[in-house]
Symmetry: C2
Subunit: 357 residues, 2 copies
């Protein structure tokens, strides 16, 4: 009876698979035709991919979760692209970090991720077109290099063509399955800060908190020293075969890290976009307020505003500004024109679709 029922479901799946198979090939043929119409031009179109992913998430009837169908369509587009040539993606190694995860999340597994020794090298390989895109963390990361990413964007000719947001969970990891006898906890300073309350509540006061270069490094150390623990994510736990003493110990439950995708191309509008710019300002009272006036006047909302001391010497500060909307949208065009009247240095880093997955 239940055997008969099983067979019915399996037959149904077999029929569905044939339909999916044929549709996938029709899709690939259309993608190939599009490639031919473009005649060897750039075939990866971030704006188009973002639209496809948003659409399947919107239309998804379940039971597969929206994340699952988006992941699958990401892979489908990745395979269709690879019919022509697989994309190569540079990132700051080592492997198994959140940055590599972000790269694969954005480009799918038919893309090739290339771990580089430094973020500078990753940028250089894409600027010279040895590789196609670079993925770099820009906000709230526990993997370092954020400051360096921002500095590189000041001078690099690369354009931002996408963003990736990863929800980051921290776990307390150790070689042994008990909290007894922990003498020391390793983690990136950022992660120690993000788990501060939890550590106060759950660990004895005499346990040392040692900040190291990255959470991956912390996990590596904890794998070697049995009286130590580490704060790190799932990937590091798996990589170093550590046990989870406690999961999701971050004080703030919506802990995310944001990554940017940079390449040699401009991206068209999708209706849900961001535009990132750098502007310079002198260190003078009221300078920032004066500078931002055109944004307010044109109804542009900022999603990020961050100052950094300028390394170029000409200016005191540079500001990294993320705005909602695409640089081609009318109100942004006017706001940018207004900005250019107020400071000699305005650089549009890129306009790109907001993160979908």
């Amino acid at each position: 009876m239940s055997e008969e029922l099983l067979k019915q479901h399996r037959d149904a799946i077999d029929n569905i698979d044939v339909e999916i198979l044929n549709l996938l090939n029709q899709r690939a043929q259309h993608a190939r035709d599009i490639g031919e119409i473009k005649g060897g031009g750039i075939i990866y179109r971030p704006e188009r991919e973002a639209q496809v992913l948003r659409r399947v998430k919107d239309l998804n009837p379940g039971p597969l979760p929206g994340e699952s169908v988006a992941r699958l369509f990401r892979e489908v587009m990745s395979e269709c692209l690879a019919l022509e040539k697989p994309l190569s993606i540079a990132y700051l190694g080592p492997e198994g970090t959140f940055t590599q995860l972000a790269a694969l999340k954005h480009f799918g597994h038919a893309a090739r991720t290339v771990a580089c020794g430094s973020i500078d090298e990753a940028f250089r390989l894409v600027e010279s077109r040895a590789l196609d895109y670079v993925v770099a963390p820009v906000e709230n990361s526990t993997e370092g290099a954020i400051g360096r990413t921002l500095d590189l964007m000041v001078s690099s000719p690369l354009k931002i063509c996408g963003e990736v947001v990863l929800r980051i969970h921290h776990h307390l990891l150790r070689k042994e399955g008990s909290m007894d006898g922990i003498r020391r906890v390793y983690a990136h300073a950022q992660a120690l800060a993000q788990c501060h309350e939890w550590l106060n509540k759950n660990l004895p006061a005499n346990v040392e908190r040692v900040s190291v270069a990255s959470n991956a490094e912390a996990a590596r150390l904890a794998a070697e020293e049995t009286d130590c623990a580490a704060i790190a994510g799932q990937a590091a736990a798996e990589r170093y075969c550590l046990l989870k003493l406690a999961e999701n110990i971050e004080d703030e439950p919506n802990n995310t890290t944001r990554f940017l995708v940079l390449g040699n191309q401009d991206v068209g509008p999708t209706g849900q976009d961001k535009t990132s710019i750098i502007v310079a300002a002198p260190n003078r009272p009221g300078a920032v307020h004066y500078l931002l006036e055109p944004l307010a006047a044109n109804g542009v909302s900022m999603t990020k505003f961050e100052s950094r001391p300028s390394r170029a010497g000409l200016w005191d500060y540079v500001f990294f500004i993320d705005m909602e909307g695409h640089a081609q949208d009318a109100h942004l065009v006017q706001a940018l024109a207004g900005l250019r009247e107020r400071t000699a240095f305005v650089k549009v880093l890129g306009a790109y679709p907001q993160a979908v997955l």
Copy 2:
């Protein structure tokens, strides 16, 4: 005109995507129903997955290559399985090795791969059911541990439930883009042997050949020493940001590595299967010939026959034998019965589908 044509193709893709989306969800619902009928039993069925993959490859009309559609259906099944609970897969680390590639190729990216410090630990974690399956190299690998894998199978209760075959390409890798001034080439001894002719022809006789623990280790060394090169694969080249001085330098173009998937389950027949056994024999003239007689008599073809000195002490040698067919097939049942009459030690390691992807 070409804009109009582009739009037509994109609209067609949009329509196809909705159809695929609905079919994927119908498929997931059937998979979930099957899970319920089974009532919490084992949901991963290697025999069923092998049949699904063979079928879509057989029916594939193109233009997507058979490998691509098999990869996509692997991911679809991986996501459908993960609706219940993602599979966890142990392997001998570090990450970025061919073994991890093999694990992801076999289980899809919704599975979690766990790098372990030793092959013994990987087996132990699956025996204790902390993890679901282990993937281990058994033939022609450049990652070591093959002997240890065979020894572990003698005593482990785990069953073989699948095999993965990877085509292995070796490249000559270096930090700099030229052959000039190479003083030393690092590689696993196996890889040095496999590229022997090429090295003789293309490198000066005074270049040292140094064998190290793995090709990944060789790449790591070459990344540090500028007057050295390494022989390793794509993954190691990417991981250590090395340039390819020469591609596919293996003397034998069909260079493959074979991996086994082991777990706590028996796998049913699919029509294209293998059965692996271990038998013991005394070191006596004619002993092997006598032992194999039941296989020949029942028309069983062997795809592998390998002897190893026994570590148990009771026997002089143990033999690892792979046979075509499933242990439940009539001629294998008879052959195995015949074997058991001739030696006290016959262990069926598993019967499993031949590699598809």
